[in-house]
């Protein structure tokens, strides 16, 4: 009886334990199992291409077995954090460029600086954008994104407005946008706007505009917030004018009212004639059949304010030496010409292999993206990027919605963001 009772208890224990213990790693026979994580929607083109590339990679490296871990963007990073906590993280994963330093600063990533020295840096874009304050590199570029000016050729032709050129200034943009703003159904409100100024994604909105007007967001190794300046104020005032008295851009509520994510389709659906957009935005525009061109960002008083995000492969610090070597093999494989060309066909990102980038992008659109990428600075990445940019964005959006005066919002935003950064780096040695 006692035996049966113990057995019953044991079964129950095993049931609970069984749900908690899974996972595996490398064995010692020379063969390595590499868990590779990336974000994509299941079954979409990126997922399919990645699987093909992995197959190609394992065929060339029979001693490496690759296990794929895929999830859509938000889910992927949510899961990743708990995986790292539980020691179950992939050994190599694709990181949104802005997160590399967040994971690195918390000791989750292997330092790739020495490995990066073995490649010819001149052949790749974005390596320098990944360097942290101490010059260390924790991620190797996978694909790059940088905003340029998208314009709808048909709307320009209909309004008889000359297309944007590389010499355009913010005044030229405003003048053209005014002519492109049209009320077609006569309800007193424009149905087509010349330009989309505000976006919840600040990479394609206030960030480059503030820089173009001579302001900046963070300096001193991205640890000092400097957004509270007359230049930033001028930039936000220009944006407020665009959405208000000049009326050539949909205002904050109208843009937000279109819903999260939908703001990126404003251009694709022809509701705005011009919009700042990263390379990934060519996809919805192409699939919507918009006849569009891209031009460099217009010049502000301090230049174009180009910024870039380099999505990167990172290696887990918990990876065994053999797994880390295998991970690096995968990274160099992915950066090679063949895989980069295949990846470029997806049209999602600018290839980081310069040789491929110069030939694989559409001839009419490629140069603007590549020149912008060359001129770009990083997006103020540091260990608390997600948190400080959210604190700051909240205030910037208050200003852009007209809820708070620009000067007040900038002062408050600088204080909020600096507090977040200060809290993390206080007492930090790295």
């Amino acid at each position: 009886m006692r035996v049966r009772m113990l057995a019953a208890a044991a079964v129950a224990v095993l049931t609970v334990a069984g749900t908690a213990s899974c996972g595996g790693s490398a064995d010692d026979s020379g063969a390595v199992t590499l868990k590779l994580g990336f974000y994509a929607a299941a079954g979409d083109a990126a997922d399919t291409t990645m699987r093909e590339l992995v197959k190609e990679f394992t065929a060339a490296n029979p001693s490496i077995k690759v296990q794929l871990e895929v999830a859509p963007y938000v889910k992927f990073f949510e899961k990743l954090r708990t995986q790292i906590a539980g020691g179950q993280a992939p050994q190599v994963w694709l990181s949104d460029g802005v997160f590399v330093q967040e994971f690195a600063a918390r000791g989750a990533l292997a330092d790739l600086s020495d490995r990066v020295k073995t490649v010819d840096a001149a052949g790749y874009s974005g390596i320098e954008l990944n360097r942290d304050a101490k010059g260390r590199i924790y991620g190797f570029p996978q694909g790059a994104q940088t905003p340029v000016l998208f314009y709808n050729k048909k709307l320009f032709a209909d309004a008889k407005v000359a297309e944007p050129t590389a010499d355009w200034t913010y005044d030229d943009l405003a003048a053209a946008a005014k002519k492109l703003t049209k009320d077609t159904n006569g309800d007193g409100k424009p149905d087509t706007y010349g330009f989309r100024a505000y976006s919840p994604g600040f990479t394609e909105s206030w960030w480059p505009i503030v820089k173009a007007f001579g302001g900046d967001i963070v300096t001193d190794d991205n640890r000092k917030v400097v957004v509270d300046s007359p230049q930033s104020k001028a930039a936000l005032d220009w944006m407020l004018g665009a959405m208000g008295k000049d009326g050539f851009a949909p205002d904050y509520a109208t843009t937000e009212g279109l819903g999260k994510g939908v703001v990126h389709t404003l251009f694709a659906t022809g509701r705005v004639a011009m919009s700042y957009g990263i390379y990934a935005r060519t996809l919805p525009a192409v699939s919507a059949g918009v006849d569009f061109g891209v031009a460099p960002l217009p010049k502000g008083p301090a230049g174009r304010g180009n910024v870039a995000i380099v999505n990167s492969w990172v290696v887990s610090k918990a990876a065994s030496p053999a797994q880390a070597d295998a991970a690096w093999k995968w990274i160099t494989f992915f950066s090679g010409e063949g895989p980069q060309r295949k990846w470029a066909e997806l049209g999602e990102a600018i290839p980081i292999n310069k040789k491929v980038a110069s030939t694989a992008l559409p001839a009419d659109r490629g140069p603007a993206f590549l020149e912008s990428l060359d001129a770009a600075t990083d997006l103020g990445t540091n260990a608390v990027w997600s948190e400080y940019t959210e604190a700051l964005a909240k205030r910037m959006n208050e200003a852009l919605s007209g809820a708070t005066p620009v000067a007040t919002a900038l002062t408050a935003g600088q204080k909020d963001a600096q507090e977040v950064i200060g809290r993390f780096y206080a007492g930090q040695t790295q």
Partner: protein
């Protein structure tokens, strides 16, 4: 011994009472072990772990660093935390009474014995079983400032259009309205069950005595369902303090944090900003609040809840 047939038990000499009781107890534990293990592994252990983490600086990656009550002192000076608590309270104040009164009204209306009533009951229950993502789409069809029905209705009466979910002053009331629409069906079903448990004779007796409809409602229905009402109030209050999915899907806390509820704040701190210790501290403060609120409600129930 549970499988033994009665006759066989009778034939055997009975074991001493103490020994029998120990044996039964062991069996009881054996059969309860899945539940006990579940309780320990999935409730007690995480609870204790989060209490421990609430006193640490823990980013999920490096090992937790003990900071004592540091997270709690930071919490009390965190303006954003207080703001989210204020938002949550505002949401609760709008949501709890509206949903309760509406659910009761619907239950009374749908408690009539008329044709096709099952269809109406089902109609009010559909939103309950729909996911928040689906509800968000439906809500967008109503509250979208450009294309929504709400503004068309306002326009029909010559009133200016509103930016429902983009206006800091309107976002919480709008969210509460949508939450009521989604949740009212469930509470209505609870009330329906309560109403149907009231003996019909009471109404008949009251009618014979000449009680008006209002008096029948006031002196028979309300006391008769006070137990259900209490349950509904406790459930909806806890639900509002734990609201997350709706704001996560519909507004993400915007505009400018006007709809940032406490659990969303907790989620961000823990899963976006790597501050699991701080998030645990928020969770514990929230736990204490929910507990306190529920205890107060239980205490007050003595004054107005009658169990027939």
């Amino acid at each position: 011994m549970l499988t033994r047939r009665a006759g066989k038990v009778a034939a055997e000499p009975r074991p001493p009472a103490r020994k029998r009781r120990t044996g039964e107890r062991a069996w009881a534990f054996a059969f309860a072990s899945p539940y006990l293990l579940h309780l320990v592994a999935l409730a007690a252990w995480p609870l204790l772990a989060s209490l421990f983490f609430s006193m640490t600086d823990y980013d999920l990656m490096s090992s937790p660093r003990f900071v004592g009550f540091g997270n709690f002192t930071r919490l009390f000076s965190d303006g954003l935390f207080w703001r989210t608590l204020g938002n949550t309270a505002y949401f609760a104040v709008l949501f709890v009474p509206t949903q309760t009164v509406l659910a009761l009204g619907l239950a009374i209306a749908l408690n009539q014995r008329l044709r096709g009533m099952a269809l109406f009951r089902a109609a009010y229950f559909v939103p309950v079983v729909s996911s928040w993502v689906v509800v968000a789409y439906v809500a967008d069809a109503v509250f979208n400032p450009q294309t929504g029905i709400a503004n068309q209705v306002l326009g029909f009466f010559g009133l200016p259009a509103e930016n429902w979910l983009q206006d800091p002053a309107l976002v919480i009331p709008t969210l509460a309205a949508v939450a009521v629409w989604k949740g009212v069906g469930y509470m209505m079903v609870l009330f329906l069950a309560g109403l149907q448990a009231i003996p019909e004779e009471r109404y008949e007796a009251a009618k014979i005595d000449g009680a008006s409809a209002w008096n029948r409602f006031r002196y028979i229905t309300l006391p008769g369902i006070s137990g259900t009402t209490f349950l509904v109030l406790v459930l909806t209050s806890i639900e509002t303090l734990q609201s997350f999915e709706q704001v996560f899907v519909m507004t993400d806390g915007g505009p400018h944090g006007a709809s940032e509820l406490t659990v969303l704040h907790l989620y961000r701190q823990g899963f976006q900003f790597f501050q699991m210790g701080y998030a645990s501290a928020i969770a514990w403060v929230l736990f204490v609040l929910v507990l306190a609120l529920t205890l107060v409600q239980f205490r007050l129930q003595r004054r107005w809840v009658h169990y027939a």
